[in-house]
């Protein structure tokens, strides 16, 4: 059984004063499986608060309703994976594989995220206020990622679509074997991966960057960023390489 500790009913209050009722799930007494089942059964518009997450894995995964989930504390591996609708806010750090394969919706981490954040994400927005570890946005396929701090090595590896915004520095081999995603970095890039190059920051890029930064609640100046993307040299086999095998 999920332990439901909803606040006083707001049914009798005037509509303009109504605050969404939040259901609290305490993971000190409720299992992760029960939490995930409960939010899979949730209806659009609901708010859920998860307390005592204790770094447990697979929290708030597979959400397919327009709900707002707040995890108060640190989450373990694969938090908010396969996210479809609504939003998840983690007021703490997230472990490996945050928002893995996110399809749409919004994930916000106020602390740091470990490796492979938003890996293979198809859509939606992932905001990490702190740093992200290695392989951030690996194989991203349309997700937007905004990182307030630094990202680790091999980020956006084989990225296919989407935007990755980094307000700090990027680690080694950024965008290695990238297809078509756009990467914006404000700080330094330790090194670019194979076929990833710096590209001009045109008006349309400044505009989309401003939009992404605003969506992430950030005040950075888009003009301070550099843009990186695919040189498109790995798209086709190059005949000069035929003797290399």
């Amino acid at each position: 059984m999920v332990t439901l500790t909803a606040p006083e009913s707001t049914a009798n209050t005037a509509p303009e004063a109504r605050v969404p009722e939040s259901t609290t799930v305490d993971l000190a007494v409720t299992s992760v499986r029960e939490l995930n089942q409960a939010i899979h059964n949730a209806a659009d518009g609901q708010a859920w608060t998860v307390t005592n997450p204790g770094g447990k894995h697979s929290l708030a995964v597979g959400i397919d309703a327009d709900i707002a989930v707040t995890i108060e504390g640190h989450a373990g591996y694969y938090a908010a994976g396969m996210h479809q609708k609504g939003g998840v806010t983690i007021t703490g750090n997230a472990g490996v594989g945050l928002a893995e394969n996110i399809m749409s919706g919004r994930i916000h981490v106020t602390g740091d995220a470990s490796q492979s954040a938003a890996a293979t994400g198809h859509g939606g927005l992932v905001v990490i206020d702190g740093n992200a570890g290695a392989r951030c946005g690996i194989s991203m396929k349309g997700v937007d990622i905004v990182v307030g701090g630094n990202i680790g090595h091999m980020s956006a590896f084989m990225a296919q679509a989407g935007r990755l915004v980094v307000c700090g520095d990027a680690g080694d081999a950024l965008g290695d074997s990238i297809y078509e995603a756009r990467i914006y970095v404000k700080g330094t890039v330790a090194s670019l991966g194979a076929d990833c190059v710096e590209k001009p920051l045109r008006e349309e890029h400044l505009a989309e960057l401003a939009e992404l930064l605003a969506a992430a609640g950030r005040t950075d100046n888009p003009a301070d960023f550099k843009r990186y993307g695919s040189a498109r040299n790995l798209y086709h086999f190059h005949v000069d390489n035929s003797t290399a095998y």
Partner: protein
């Protein structure tokens, strides 16, 4: 996979709780390596004492009674050596007021088939096959006091599931090493070390790492230098934790294949494979929590 949990207590008032804190951490990494486990505890009263060398031997049954071991070892040592033997869980501890080299010689002669899994003035090492929490309970970890503790749960990949293949590997005085990952060129490095005269107990890849670190330290490297050198010589995936009598080091391979997270407060430094192992530590809400960067050696001394 494999799981690691390590704790260095800066605040002596936490020393009585070392075992219970380490046990609570270990409990959260069992899933990462349920086949066997090992523990190293430092300055634990009742197991080791100042001015005395202690050897940890694999197994509770050494083939002869503890009285016979005591008598056999005592006969080979000076008369004031005060040799003592006790069995803790699945580990036999032999101690005497002599240098470790002399004690190793005496124990090896008395118990020819024995495997020494720990040695030094400050450390006791315990390892076995089975569920990690049962191994910890069998050895009475919960009640142990101490200044540092190191635990490892193993999911074996490079060598057999045996107590001897469990971590930590302790191959020099008060030095312990645990490993999550695998070394790919361990056979080459083992051959090189053998040529230098180093003797191995197992076919395990991690033992090569431990012997390499011990060899570097013997040649005058600091702990940090030894681990930087390890990164140049050993290839593979690794998160390593190395402890000595008064320090602890953490290093991850340069591409960070294996996880690690560290929590630091004025009272302790704790490292684990996953945050959930740190979640129950006192004052964790105000700890500085970070993932060690790839290829960077972190050290803390008491």
């Amino acid at each position: 996979m494999c799981g690691i949990a390590a704790l260095q207590l800066r605040n002596p008032s936490l020393h009585p709780r070392m075992g219970s804190l380490l046990s609570s951490m270990l409990c959260q990494i069992v899933d990462r390596g349920p086949d066997s486990a090992g523990l190293a505890v430092y300055n634990t009263p009742g197991l080791v004492s100042e001015g005395t060398s202690t050897l940890s031997l694999l197994g509770r049954d050494q083939g002869i009674t503890t009285a016979a071991i005591t008598a056999g070892v005592a006969a080979l040592l000076p008369s004031d050596a005060q040799a003592a033997v006790q069995v803790v869980g699945d580990t036999t501890l032999v101690s005497a007021a002599v240098g470790t080299d002399l004690l190793v010689k005496a124990v090896s002669e008395t118990l020819r088939g024995s495997t020494i899994i720990g040695r030094g003035e400050h450390v006791a090492v315990m390892k076995s096959v089975g569920h990690p929490m049962e191994i910890a309970a069998d050895h009475g970890l919960e009640a142990m006091a101490g200044s540092q503790g190191l635990s490892h749960t193993r999911m074996a990949t490079e060598s057999a599931v045996t107590a001897g293949g469990s971590h930590p590997f302790s191959v020099a005085d008060d030095l312990c090493l645990v490993h999550n990952g695998s070394f790919s060129n361990h056979a080459t490095v083992r051959r090189d070390l053998r040529r230098e005269g180093v003797v191995f107990d197992s076919d395990n890849d991690t033992e090569v790492g431990a012997r390499y670190v011990a060899s570097r330290l013997k040649q005058g490297d600091t702990l940090e230098e030894a681990l930087v050198n390890l990164g140049k010589v050993l290839d593979g995936f690794y998160t390593l934790v190395v402890t000595t009598a008064d320090s602890m080091a953490v290093v991850r391979d340069p591409i960070a294949c294996k996880p690690a997270i560290i929590a630091e407060t004025d009272d302790y430094v704790a490292m684990a494979s996953e945050y959930r192992a740190l979640a129950g530590l006192p004052g964790i809400d105000n700890a500085r929590i970070f993932e060690p960067e790839p290829g960077k050696v972190y050290t803390w001394s008491l």
